[in-house]
């Protein structure tokens, strides 16, 4: 499961270009935020339904599945009418009302770890969805908050095998948010595959310098293509070795 795309949906053209690129490089899910959780209410909050439309159109045209964030119970139906996978952002990892509602609908749920959540809290949050009847929950490690300022977050790759000890859910790693620096995304993505992750979520934009948000941690299509090529031998190596240990 390789999820790629921009932080925020910006336009029809942007999404079409990204979808074409990431599909060609081997991604199978297109991401893009239409409702954006931002620290300040005065920051860009997303294109909302129009953004979902652009995302869905681009995904369909290029043979990709789609994922986008749902921020409250009231908008689950709207988001679910456009996308294939419903994302819960890290700020809402313990929004139990939202999780309960997501347990009662039919789309898979992609749950991002809260930035200071313990593994057991993370699994507990997933159980809120599972308890409602939705068995397809995908966990996403996206970095935790520490004292380090060189990176935006500290990617916690031990979370992958640790979560697999605590539950049976697939675990995806987001090295874009996990590091916050473009130069660190590729090595952490390779390490995520080596540690046993079931997938990656990578921010990709045709021109990261012009992205409305998160540009500093976003790859351009060429960088993403190079990253994808570098993952193959690692995936092979690990699969073989998973049998051994």
């Amino acid at each position: 499961m390789i999820i790629a795309g921009p932080c925020a949906v910006e336009s029809h053209e942007q999404m079409d270009a990204i979808a074409a690129n990431v599909a060609a490089s081997g991604a199978n899910v297109l991401r893009g935020g239409a409702f954006k959780p931002r620290t300040s209410p005065y920051s860009f909050q997303g294109l909302e339904e129009k953004g979902l439309q652009f995302l869905a159109d681009a995904a369909q045209k290029h043979g990709l599945r789609s994922i986008s964030e749902v921020m409250d119970g009231e908008s689950i139906d709207l988001v679910a009418s456009y996308v294939d996978i419903l994302q819960v952002g890290s700020r809402n990892m313990q929004n139990f009302s939202l999780l309960k509602r997501l347990g009662k609908q039919s789309k898979p749920v992609f749950l991002k770890r809260g930035h200071s959540a313990t593994y057991r809290e993370f699994v507990g949050a997933a159980e809120y969805v599972l308890a409602g009847g939705q068995a397809e929950v995908i966990l996403c490690e996206r970095g935790i908050r520490t004292f380090e300022t060189y990176t935006r977050n500290t990617a916690d790759l031990a979370a992958v095998p640790a979560l697999k000890e605590l539950c049976d859910l697939p675990v995806v790693v987001d090295p874009s948010h996990g590091t916050g620096r473009r130069s660190l995304v590729a090595p952490l993505a390779r390490a995520a595959i080596a540690v046993g992750a079931d997938g990656l979520m990578i921010e990709v934009h045709p021109n990261p310098a012009e992205a409305v948000s998160d540009g500093q941690q976003t790859l351009n299509p060429l960088e993403f293509e190079a990253l994808m090529r570098s993952l193959e031998p690692i995936a092979e190596a690990v699969n073989a070795k998973n049998v051994l240990i």
Copy 2:
């Protein structure tokens, strides 16, 4: 503003006994959780509307205002129909959909700091409520998550003067969650007054050992009474000295 009461509303009798006690000791707001955010969906989730009723009855009988947590936009009207102040828990500090809805209703909002939120993120969250039109927002420092295991959280008292540098909202301290240990509640409460807090939120239960949750950080009525008596001279001292510095 001295908020006191149990973690969770358990019964009519419990709330009546606590309300009588904390009112006699000088509290002016009665707390009690009716919808409980719990790490596991299989833990006690609260008495829900019945709990709100017990809380409201006890508060009214003993001349106290009331506060309880609201966990999603859908239940704002229900909670607001019973209580005077709407609490947003730390897990929902950046539940922006909930905050936006709270900005559009008429009850004061009591916003607990996320357990790893920076001061600026905390103020940003408050701005979501303020931007909607609700000007009465009370910030609550309730401890942050650190490496320490002796305490449940690390009470960050510098948050009080720091938040006052960043905004004009009142700041209340919750030393019960801020420490997680009964023996530390009183000294931290005194320190909170000394550092300039505008109020306290304290967990009180007739018999902490039998509380359904958070008993280990809860005072009994005698301890709460002793604490309240110890706060008076500090409050006096600080008021006088606030003029000097």
Copy 3:
């Protein structure tokens, strides 16, 4: 125990001026770094023995005791020949070789908490000194490292009563390093007294803007005088109330 003085000893005149001021305001110990632990080897490393001389002269002239940091076993005798109290900095809290040597000499030891040390590790470090025979160890809470960037460190005032539960040593608070911001030093100092601290360590400089280090967290003599006046009624209030609870 009120310890005051500059981060670094800079000159005879500086120390004399500060000593006169802080003594007049009620401090009883003069601080000043002569050997400075700095992140980079290319930063100012202190005046070394000359700095100790300036510190000792100023302390003696103004009737103060003196304290300075000792950075290794080899220089214990040198530092001890000038000052009354030997400080171990936070970076050396678990420099067990140094602690063992300090247990075998006769001057009191002032042990600063490591910036991410747990309470039990802090007490364990003190035990290295105590085990050697030196019973006078003073613990100093000076802030821990968290994700917050508004402050330099997060002052952990619960450490004071918690450490008193774990051992019988006096606990002093350093709100200068504990916050890293001048505006927060006074409120945190008052809170430290209210929480039960046995003393304070405060950075004071005649002209903080010109201090060679830590100027942004340093009080000028007028601010220090005002702070000292504001502490008296809190100390009175707490002493009375310590009896009650």
Copy 4:
């Protein structure tokens, strides 16, 4: 550079057995603590010089280089007379007196990251050694302290490429301390190779359940052998791909 061996040197027989095993599996440096930094002065402090002798004998017999921790300037000569590489433990990362002395001697220095040190502080510490003239400094990421309790530390693999952006020193990863759980050591070791680490430090003991310290994070020889075999294809994959990105 694959460093393997027990947390503490326990006996001649133990070291000989481990050395034979790890050499056969492909390790090239033998580790073993002779002077142990322990939280309490009443815990086992190591076999001291006798331990160094056992370590040196076993290393020489099996064609390995040796590494052990040096805890103070006074014992540098002693440790250096037995081992090839001098380790500075995480508690001493900012023991600047020790670092300065290590800059003036001729053995390579293996510097473990302090458990809450930023990348820039880590590089600053290395500069204390480099400034003295010793150019062979090896950095070791060994996990940082966070709120997580499932693991002992949080392995920060982004440190590897980040440190390589900040300096030109080799970076080794210690997944044993980095996780504190045997089951997580192998996946994190593989991830460390994938992220670009220049080596690994792994705790190995003939019978981890009987190790005097750190047994819960220690591999037995069979586990170590299996880990080593699993690293080869990843190392190959990454070397090839380092060229591409």
